[in-house]
């Protein structure tokens, strides 16, 4: 039987599923119930100095829905904890005492001066928490006060603050990164230079989810006005996966442990992060959308997959996909595929035809009897039909084996790979002969 046991930045937990710093982790009552449901660890809702901040007293979330009103994206204008520091610290201590086998990490955000950090760190150590996470990510509210993403967007600040923290505590330090930046490698490198034990990402993406067509106010609307919030949930997963991969394959940070966050709702999502180099994962929106019980599915799904693949532990497959992430110029241009429609599965909706005819390469015909067929002479293998077909597995991509003729180009498929750096059309190509 495979084991889900996890060690991340020296912190042990019975599984790699942690709850991210957010409302699910903002008090002892929640966290205890989360642990009862089976979560491996939590990052406590971000603490700040007293006097504690205040939140808006109207709606703080906006949403984007998929079909059947399933929540695809959530946006929030909530700030860090709005409870006194002492109350949180007392509860953290109590939780850690009651659940010694679970990971309890404390997220922190204090003003950008060393004294503030020197003040709070010993108090956190006193709770016996397993580590701290530095919230350099929050894109709204706190950033206006010079904290959160205001720090996270300046690599020099990240390095400086991380160094202060490392020199003032024995606890492992995780630096949480904001995605609201053009190249995620710079803040990750800065965190590493500052001595971080790990990075976690992503925090939320700056966003406006919708505008009310009657009141002309962005949503969520507070007395007729709105502000940009932080976007998260399934919609942000692709952004997060890419950023995790960028850090994992960057020579300067490839050995830096990564806690993967962003849009994880199912065991599959979690596994994708682990394969791209994350050492564990954190979840917020999925728990906020469905409750703590989803962790049962995360555990059973990952275990079943590990069993099928004969992996014994989480470290057996961590990062296995990293070496397969490469730059465009290295992709094999002699890899040729064609779309294939399974006539038994096809329900004849015609969407593949519509998208190919109107927006791609006019490579699908409607035959008599409303059957749809791919014209190999035209198909560039773009994958659009596969992506819009409502029946999973109905359209697939079939590889043309070396020696076969690509009817579109008239060329025989070469068994030797050829990428852009070697391509004759590339004026900068370096020939190998």
């Amino acid at each position: 039987m495979p084991s889900l046991n996890s060690t991340f930045a020296g912190i042990k937990s019975p599984n790699p599923f942690w709850l991210a710093s957010a409302p699910p982790t903002d008090k002892e009552y929640n966290v205890s119930r989360a642990f009862e449901a089976g979560w491996g660890g939590v990052v406590w809702k971000t603490l700040g100095l007293d006097p504690h901040i205040v939140n808006v007293n109207g709606p703080r979330y906006g949403a984007v829905w998929g079909p059947d009103r399933s929540l695809m994206g959530l946006n929030n204008i909530e700030l860090i904890t709005d409870r006194p520091l002492g109350v949180n610290l007392k509860e953290i201590k109590s939780v850690k005492r009651n659940y010694p086998d679970r990971a309890v990490v404390v997220s922190l955000m204090v003003p950008c001066d060393e004294a503030s950090w020197q003040g709070i760190l010993p108090q956190v150590e006193e709770t016996n928490a397993d580590g701290v996470e530095l919230n350099f990510g929050c894109p709204h509210g706190m950033s206006e006060r010079g904290m959160g993403s205001a720090v996270g967007q300046v690599p020099d600040y990240i390095e400086m603050v991380t160094r202060w923290v490392k020199s003032n505590t024995r606890m492992p330090v995780i630096v949480k990164l904001t995605p609201n930046i053009t190249d995620i490698r710079y803040p990750a490198r800065a965190a590493k230079k500052g001595g971080a034990d790990a990075v976690s990402l992503i925090n939320t993406v700056s966003s406006i989810t919708s505008v009310n067509l009657d009141t002309f106010s962005p949503e969520p609307s507070i007395d007729g006005k709105g502000t940009h919030g932080g976007y998260c949930g399934p919609a942000v997963k692709p952004i997060a996966l890419n950023m995790v991969a960028e850090i994992a394959r960057d020579a300067e940070t490839s050995d830096l442990p990564i806690s993967g966050i962003g849009g994880i709702s199912t065991w599959r999502d979690a596994t994708e992060f682990l394969l791209l180099g994350a050492g564990n994962v954190q979840v917020c929106t999925a728990a906020m959308a469905y409750g703590f019980r989803i962790v049962s599915e995360l555990q059973s799904g990952l275990l079943e997959w590990m069993n099928d693949k004969r992996f014994e532990s989480v470290t057996d497959y961590r990062g296995l996909a990293v070496s397969n992430v490469t730059d465009w110029q290295n992709l094999n241009l002699n890899f040729v595929t064609k779309a294939r429609i399974d006539q038994d599965l096809c329900i004849k909706c015609g969407r593949c035809f519509a998208v190919c005819e109107d927006t791609s390469h006019q490579a699908i015909v409607i035959n008599s009897g409303r059957t749809f067929e791919v014209i190999d002479e035209e198909c560039v293998a773009c994958n659009l039909c596969v992506n819009v077909c409502p029946v999973e597995g109905c359209i697939t991509m079939e590889q043309l084996k070396p020696g076969m003729v690509d009817k579109r180009t008239g060329q025989t498929v070469d068994e030797n790979p050829l990428n852009w750096t070697q391509h004759p059309n590339n004026v900068l190509a370096c020939t190998t002969d």
Binding site: W267, R293, E297, S300, E304, W305, L345, V391
Partner: protein
């Protein structure tokens, strides 16, 4: 020329082999992967879900559906079997419209519940088709428990006991295991010999021995058979039936007819009347009526002594009968027969319900009959001896304990039985847990 639907009398082979095949094929075939994914997507993952409360075995329905939708049907099956080891048969036979699906919030929202039963079948079939038995026994405890009867109650109890490391010995009077799963559930609900396959799969847990063709008449009899058991579970069902006092060779018990049909290797061998009347208003009456029609009977009438709304069968089942061309005659009681040979008629008296009581009124109906099936209830055959009895059934508490220490009971033979496979499974399982607690003391 062979027989047809219109051939007079009670005859076999009224239909062609192809017609039998079509008529007795799976009434509710399994979902394809695509269908399952689309349906699973509809579940809201409700908190304290009403569907779970409505399932007598309390399967964690939102969890198993989420496991299907995330591509892990085997994990989903495990979730189901954790609560209900006969989840495969229940997926086929449960009147879901009265149970889980009736309580689904999407029934409230758009009168279209999540198809929980079919999703359950999708998951359990996936695991069982791979012939995986997902449980291992705990360390042997050296204890042995006698189980009387191998219906859903006895099987569920045996499996749970075996899982806890106990040894089980089943005594079964029939030449096969399964109880009404094998002989009662309508043929078109459990095709391809599923009941026997399920039993074989269940026994893979190990630690369960059985003796077939072994009737345990009563507790004294059991005592003679085996002296050294640590506990007894009675899951003997209701082996006997209620009969009408009308002397005619045209009268037959519906359950016997259904059993013959279930065990038949060729439906063409089963004689069926051109004119059939079924007496009763429950699930058994519906099953006998529908299956008569499917065997090629021209006229099938279900005669019930009270009104339609008082019938034990659910609206869904009644509609199934009507859809198959079965006629419903309510407020009618059989009085006797008239005529002879192929001209015989069943005389029924009209009734009214006055103050909840059936009153016959001065009005009779005559129906031509070749066969009459009685489906007016079953009763206990197993001799209860010193066990406390209420309305002909063994009295148990919520743990399945009878009035005699060391003896537990569950399923149809108890006062808490509900004539449902799934309830029998729940009672068998819960009694096993209580026996285990008792023996672990």
């Amino acid at each position: 020329m062979g027989n047809s639907v219109y051939s007079p009398g009670t005859l076999p082979a009224r239909l062609t082999p192809h017609e039998y095949e079509v008529n007795f094929s799976d009434i509710n075939p399994g979902l394809s992967l695509h269908e399952a994914m689309v349906e699973a997507d509809r579940c809201y993952f409700c908190y304290d879900a009403p569907c779970v409360t409505a399932c007598p075995t309390g399967i964690d329905i939102p969890l198993f559906i989420r496991q299907i939708s995330t591509g892990t049907p085997r994990a989903a099956a495990k979730t189901i079997f954790d609560s209900n080891i006969l989840g495969g048969m229940c997926a086929r036979s449960c009147p879901t419209e009265n149970l889980c699906e009736g309580a689904c919030v999407r029934e409230v929202a758009e009168s279209e519940p999540v198809e929980i039963g079919r999703l359950q079948r999708f998951a359990t079939d996936t695991l069982m088709d791979e012939n995986i038995h997902p449980y291992k026994r705990a360390h042997e405890t050296g204890k042995i428990i006698a189980v009387i009867g191998s219906g859903p109650a006895g099987l569920a109890c045996s499996h749970r006991l075996a899982m806890h490391g106990h040894n089980v010995e089943i005594f079964e009077e029939k030449p096969f295991l399964g109880g009404l799963n094998q002989t009662g559930i309508a043929t078109y609900k459990t095709v391809n010999d599923f009941a026997q396959q399920e039993v074989e799969w269940l026994l893979k847990i190990g630690g369960i021995k059985f003796q077939l063709n072994k009737t345990v008449k009563d507790l004294e009899d059991l005592h003679k058979l085996t002296q050294d058991y640590d506990a007894v579970f009675v899951g003997a069902g209701l082996g006997d039936v209620n009969r009408l006092n009308i002397g005619s060779d045209k009268f037959q018990e519906a359950v016997t007819f259904i059993e013959e049909l279930r065990l038949a290797s060729d439906y063409g061998n089963i004689p069926i009347g051109r004119n059939v009347v079924v007496i009763g208003g429950g699930m058994t009456a519906i099953d006998a009526g529908v299956q008569s029609k499917l065997l090629g009977s021209e006229n099938v009438t279900i005669a019930y002594r009270r009104s339609r709304s008082e019938m034990g069968a659910s609206e869904h089942e009644i509609n199934l009968a009507l859809k198959n061309g079965v006629k419903l005659l309510t407020n009618a009681v059989p009085l006797g027969m008239s005529g002879d040979g192929t001209d015989e008629k069943l005389i029924l008296g009209r009734t009214e319900i006055i103050g909840g009581k059936i009153q016959q009124i001065e009005d009779t109906i005559e129906l031509p009959v070749d066969q009459v099936f009685m489906a007016i209830g079953q009763k206990l055959e197993f001799g209860p001896g010193s066990l406390a009895i209420d309305a002909g059934k063994i009295v148990v508490d919520s743990h399945g304990r009878t009035s005699v220490p060391g003896i537990w009971a569950g399923g149809d033979c108890t006062n808490l039985g509900e004539d449902l496979t799934v309830t029998a499974v729940a009672q068998g399982r819960d009694a096993a847990e209580d026996i285990h607690r008792h023996l672990s003391k």
